[in-house]
């Protein structure tokens, strides 16, 4: 007979229980979806890298190398690869020949291309509505699309090496057979060598290649943006995913612990009566333990299952950001198991402890219950006596239940962290586009030549030089540019917005932040090609957040790095220039960059929506459940106050008003929490990468995040007030008689 009690009570007080069940749902859902996502991405990425022989580095030389000799000598696999850009309209497909040893192509759909066929990357195909079987005309010859392909050295498909975001509408990659490719390789052939394997004496390898074949460039995997961005995104996504899922789980569990204790205590009279009637402890425990069990089952199983089901579209959605080819889908049952069972670990023992502690008292005490039990002298809080009555009661409410307020503070702080993560990332992107590319980089086009030039033949342009370095003792890449002293193309400014007079080395703020450099410090760098070391004093720090970069005047640059006077490798230009293609290595149009940022911002927006929903739901549910708890617990007092003539609004501010402080405190704590997490991600996950973002929340970000979470707060407050309105003094009096 007793078995009917839990479900009947839950049905009667469903509004109250739905909030708790939703919390368990959220905990299991968040854990399942994020952990399955991470497992899928991690495993697929590792398999892809391993099975398709991702390179360890690649290099270019002036003369063709003797592959076999080098392979034998250094015990590595080396494969030659050709690449060629097919431009049509404003689009480019970068074609590669099919390789067999290193960076083997992975056919995601369809088959490897035969002669007269090509395979292209699915994002480009998707954006340009190309399907397998379609034909593309390339310079007068028709090619059939045989399949969709992914390349291990082009996971993050960007046109230029340092582009921050892919632009699948305008740029894609493809593969074709070398025989087909030879038709297009005449004058603008670009050949490089990919290497798989570890070389113990890397310096002597470089020296040998340089002396025999004239080494032009070399890029290790760690500094290859097209490879490392994916790893970097995974590294930064992993802590975020775990932090989100574990914290949601932890907050929900603590909240459940509090709620269950109160729930069990609120049923003291009937538990005491059953005890008095002769039921033993075991029978009572067996009945009332069903509350946490039912709540757990109703929340965790649908939550875990929904997370499990949605993990597939979520993974697809997520990999579109980080470009990991998902070959095989994993549905790890252990992740689902953890997602479902962890809430039970918190809930069932806390429910059991609550029942046990109640049953430890005498029958009379149980029947009298918690609400009538003694308040110790500390609850008198005489120091509050000077305050007006309403405020005094409000503060007392908060101080009497510190654990609830702590949960609320932690919950709001965490919701703040999640929303700030999204909002700040969006601001950082638009800052980059609207500020950096408009106000600092004034040029519209950038051209990099094949070889050093000495005379600038192009009007409305400025020459520049550049070299890549490592920071000594790290793998972090730094690019130093030599630009004109009073450049009209690059306007470096300090934090106050004043133009920096170029004298000595001026470094970007992002580089200074990453290595904790101040003006006057020395930057110890190593030339990537020839291994020479330089120790250069940092003269100024520019308010610039793109990459690890530094600037000097062109003359000083050439002088410092022993380059010929007046030599330069590229030019910045306001106008599109007609430079013969064979003379340039790469071209960059600012308009294209901005366009691709704006396009990418749309997909970032989708990610943001997930962040928005999660933070709103989390903040709302925590405040709502705690408010509901306070109202349920104080029903009698609320009824009495109503009889005495208190208005609903007054009661709401007396009983729920302390939440205002906790909400604000939680939000304020969320800001340093966010900064700490971002610093952690920047320092740990991105420390060796030439990547930086201005991820400092602006006042606008903070105000927006606050307003947004405040909406969740107001909604829960509104629902709380509705619950207070529903408390009928008449019913309270009747219950007393019954």
């Amino acid at each position: 007979m007793l078995k009917k009690i839990p479900l009947r009570i839950m049905w009667r007080d469903k509004a109250h229980f739905i909030g708790i069940i939703l919390l368990v749902f959220l905990a299991s859902f968040a854990y399942a979806i994020f952990s399955i996502l991470i497992t899928n991405i991690d495993t697929n990425y590792k398999n892809f890298v391993k099975n398709y022989n991702q390179e360890d580095f690649h290099f270019t030389t002036f003369f063709p190398i003797d592959i076999e000799t080098l392979e034998k000598k250094y015990n590595v696999s080396i494969e030659e690869k050709f690449t060629w850009d097919y431009e049509f309209g404003d689009k480019i497909i970068r074609f590669f020949n099919i390789t067999e040893k290193v960076n083997k192509p992975l056919i995601l759909e369809g088959k490897l291309p035969q002669i007269g066929e090509i395979a292209i990357d699915p994002n480009f195909a998707n954006s340009n509505r190309l399907e397998i079987g379609d034909e593309i005309e390339i310079l007068g010859k028709n090619f059939k699309i045989s399949g969709f392909v992914s390349l291990p050295d082009y996971i993050y498909i960007t046109r230029n090496e340092n582009d921050m975001l892919p632009d699948p509408l305008r740029f894609g990659i493809g593969i074709m057979n070398l025989e087909d490719m030879r038709n297009f390789l005449r004058s603008i052939a670009y050949r490089y060598y990919m290497v798989k394997g570890n070389i113990s004496d890397f310096d002597s390898f470089k020296a040998e290649v340089n002396s025999k074949y004239n080494l032009l460039s070399l890029q290790e995997k760690d500094e290859n943006f097209r490879i490392i961005v994916t790893e970097m995104k995974m590294e930064s996504a992993r802590p975020m995913a775990y932090v989100i899922s574990f914290t949601v789980m932890l907050i929900s569990s603590i909240l459940l612990f509090i709620v269950l204790r109160r729930l069990i205590n609120s049923m003291h009279a009937e538990i005491g009566t059953l005890y008095a009637l002769g039921y033993n402890k075991r029978e009572i425990v067996n009945t009332y333990i069903m509350f946490p069990i039912f709540i757990w089952l109703l929340g965790a199983i649908p939550g875990g299952a929904t997370g499990y089901i949605l993990s597939d579209p979520f993974t697809k959605f997520y990999v579109s950001f980080i470009s990991v080819p998902v070959v095989e889908k994993f549905f790890p049952l252990n992740d689902l198991f953890i997602a479902i069972f962890i809430p039970a670990l918190f809930m069932i023992p806390s429910g059991y402890m609550a029942i046990r502690s109640l049953l430890r008292r005498s029958v009379v005490e149980i029947i009298r219950g918690e609400s009538e039990k003694g308040f110790k002298s500390k609850f008198r809080m005489k120091f509050l006596d000077r305050l007006p009555f309403k405020r005094r009661i409000m503060i007392k409410q908060g101080l009497l239940h510190p654990s609830r307020e702590i949960v609320l503070i932690i919950g709001v702080a965490f919701a703040t962290l999640i929303i700030m993560y999204g909002v700040v990332a969006k601001t950082a992107l638009s800052y980059l586009v609207e500020d950096t590319f408009q106000n600092i980089f004034k040029y519209n086009y950038l051209y990099i030549f094949n070889y050093y030039e000495k005379e600038n033949k192009y009007p409305n342009s400025e020459p520049f030089n550049m070299l890549s370095f490592y920071i000594k003792g790290t793998k972090a890449k730094v690019v130093i540019y030599g630009i004109e002293k009073n450049s009209k193309m690059i306007i470096l400014k300090d934090k106050k917005g004043n133009r920096i007079e170029l004298e000595g080395l001026v470094i970007a703020q992002s580089l200074a932040d990453k290595f904790n450099l101040k003006e006057g410090d020395y930057l110890n760098i190593v030339n990537k090609i020839d291994g020479r070391e330089y120790n250069i004093k940092v003269k100024k720090i520019a308010d610039l957040y793109v990459g690890n970069s530094g600037y000097m005047t062109l003359d000083e640059f050439n002088n410092t790095f022993n380059m010929e006077k007046n030599s330069f490798i590229g030019i910045y230009s306001m106008n599109k220039l007609d430079i013969p293609k064979e003379n340039i290595v790469s071209t960059l149009s600012k308009e294209d960059i901005i366009k691709s940022f704006r396009d990418s911002a749309q997909s970032v927006d989708q990610m943001l929506q997930v962040m928005y929903m999660l933070s709103f739901f989390l903040a709302f549910i925590i405040i709502y459940v705690l408010s509901a708890l306070v109202i349920t617990e104080n029903r009698k007092s609320l009824g009495i106050f109503k009889i005495l003539g208190y208005k609903d609004k007054e009661l709401s501010s007396m009983f729920l008003g302390f939440n205002n402080f906790s909400f604000i405190l939680g939000f304020l704590l969320g800001i340093p929490l966010f900064n700490t997490l971002i610093t952690y991600i920047m320092n740990q996950a991105l420390k060796d990468v030439d990547f930086s973002f201005k991820l400092q929340p602006t006042i606008r970000d903070i105000l927006f995040s606050f307003s947004y979470l405040f909406l969740a707060f107001l909604l829960s407050r509104y629902l709380g007030r509705r619950r207070i309105r529903a408390v009928s003094p008449n019913i309270i009096l009747k219950e007393q008689w019954e």
Binding site: F375, P388, K390, G645, N730, L733, Q736
Partner: protein, 232 residues
């Protein structure tokens, strides 16, 4: 006339049964008098008090208090009415358990613009010494005295008492009655006390007797006796 009750009907639906709690009650009550509503359990005493107190509504009929028709007031206006005019005293005291004695009294003092001094009121009921205690630290009689102080402190024009001595022993019950009598005399407060104890009726100015929801007697008591002489 201070309170006018005209053709008051109130019924409750209990399962498939309809119970008439009040049947066509009409009466007029004067300001500053001490009324006792007499009747056994289920006679409609509490329902009458709840309607007078604005925490329940009549099905039909009118209740006009100090010129204000309660049936025409919305719930906010009823709250204001309770706040300005009424004090309540219940059988089970209904003190707020998390507030001390003084705070319970202050909780209604806060609502009134011309309330009495809480210290004076607590001294009158003999509870000033216990002002920092919580309700659970008090006996039933003491709790009821605090409830009286809480009702009185905002200086209401009416105090509704629902079986205020029902849960008390004889001595404490008499002490409570004495306090109510003193308040009636000292502050001119209209007191309407519902009880099943016929002995208490002897101290009232007027007796309202209910039986099964009907008004069976509405009679003056020409010679009310002091509370000290009430005995049962």
């Amino acid at each position: 006339m201070f309170i006018e009750i005209k053709n008051l009907w109130k019924s409750y639906q209990v399962g498939s049964f309809k119970i008439d709690a009040l049947k066509d009650i009409s009466m007029n009550l004067d300001k500053g008098k001490f009324y006792v509503v007499l009747g056994p359990s289920g006679s409609g005493k509490t329902t009458l008090l709840n309607i007078l107190g604005g925490i329940d509504r009549a099905d039909s009929g009118k209740v006009i208090v100090d010129g204000e028709d309660l049936s025409s007031l919305d719930s906010m206006a009823l709250t204001i009415y309770r706040r300005k005019k009424l004090g309540f005293i219940f059988q089970f005291y209904n003190l707020v358990s998390s507030l001390t004695v003084l705070e319970n009294v202050l909780s209604t003092k806060y609502l009134s613009e011309d309330g009495l001094d809480p210290k004076e009121v607590l001294e009158v009921v003999g509870m000033w010494e216990h002002r920092d205690k919580f309700p659970f630290e008090l006996s039933g009689g003491e709790q009821q005295r605090v409830a009286i102080a809480r009702a009185v402190v905002k200086n209401p024009s009416i105090i509704l008492c629902d079986e205020p001595t029902g849960a008390l022993d004889f001595e404490n019950a008499k002490r409570v009655l004495k306090l109510l009598e003193d308040i009636n005399k000292k502050y001119g407060t209209t007191i309407i006390l519902a009880t099943h104890n016929t002995a208490i009726a002897k101290m009232s100015h007027k007796i309202i007797r209910l039986r099964s929801g009907e008004l069976v007697e509405f009679a003056d008591n020409p010679s009310p006796i002091p509370a000290e002489e009430v005995a049962w």
